[in-house]
Symmetry: C2
Subunit: 217 residues, 2 copies
């Protein structure tokens, strides 16, 4: 019997750095969020979208099984989404709507790693920039780049482990960190360089070009 | 009297991850490298370009004061460039040709910080991805994102300090790390989110769109 897979797509952000809720802006004919919903529907049995509190759109409008409103932090928003995922789900995939280009293959790869026994699986890519870390003394130290990865979504988890990690109510920039905090084992799978995260308005310009480029390849 | 400023633009890479030397591909009518040379000419008294060993182009072809061939690593290439900078230079700015969108203002900001007394000044931006670091035990640990910055170029330095840092012959992903290794004081100035680094072929697609977007603003 196939394990039931559900997706939680987090689109609850206010777009503070972006200037507007970026998940709803148009990207080659459809909203940014729709890109993720389409892939999630193909890879999972059910899809929950987490929307900002002022969004009146229904689940049907987004082609999702459920639409809930988010919380004050990213982790709180994921928890809102988890409440709408049925207890029959065995694997839950959490994805940021700000990454419209995560492909079906990447979703399947992370899910497969959980099917193979990991508590969670996250995509990681090489870091192309030099990264500096502020030290307790206030100085910046350069980190060895070969030991760093940039983490993307989708991130797949055993449903019971993810729910337990969120019971604590903590906050982190991704769910894998919460799962590790309760002792869960996370594996890193190869991410995709084109799995762009829309952060600044110039990212949207880049994303539109990428979307057209990908559609003609 | 104004301190003499020189630029070293590093374009010596083979483009291993990119598939070709990315510094010469066309970006809205001119090669990627030309974008950086133009800004460097406006901000500095002299410009040295560091080219791959198989490049037969002359300094004149690139509108530079000198063109030299690079070395086997990025730091070695910078050293090749430094040899072509006259000893009269008081400030040397090192820039990666893979960042064609670094603007005049960013160049001036880094130079100003050195004029104001720093040994070196580097642009830093917020990190938008979750970053993980491999630990000695092989596990990945999530780093606190608020304490991280992604470092860009141009990086400006006191000429004597930069030359001394490179005398040791070490290798690092940027020059600031070498300067710090000899005790130099580096300051971080605000970088620019649109100061994209061309790493993968999809970056070039994004860059072309950004270039056109910036030209119509």
């Amino acid at each position: 019997m196939t394990v039931e897979r559900w997706a939680v797509i987090v689109a609850g952000g206010a777009g503070t750095r972006f200037g507007a809720p970026k998940q709803f802006v148009e990207l080659v004919g459809r909203p940014v969020l729709s890109w993720s919903v389409e892939v999630a529907r193909a890879a999972c049995h059910g899809v929950v979208v987490v929307l900002p509190t002022d969004q009146l759109n229904t689940a049907a409008a987004w082609n999702a099984d459920a639409a809930v409103t988010g919380g004050p932090t990213r982790s709180a928003s994921v928890r809102c989404g988890l409440e709408a995922v049925p207890m029959s789900a065995g694997v839950i995939v959490v994805h940021d709507a700000a990454r419209p280009f995560a492909g079906r293959e990447l979703w399947e790869t992370t899910i497969q790693a959980v099917d193979d026994g990991a508590d969670g699986a996250i995509p990681g890519v090489e870091v192309s920039d030099t990264i500096r870390q502020r030290q307790p003394d206030g100085l910046w130290r350069t980190l060895e780049r070969g030991r760093l990865i940039a983490v993307q979504t989708p991130q797949a988890f055993r449903a019971d482990v993810l729910r337990r990690a969120h019971l604590e109510g903590g906050d982190a920039t991704d769910d894998a960190a919460l799962v590790e905090a309760i002792g869960g084992r996370i594996v890193v799978v190869p991410g995709s360089p084109s799995n762009l995260k829309l952060t600044s308005p110039s990212d949207l310009v880049a994303a539109r070009a990428l979307a057209e480029w990908m559609s003609v390849r």
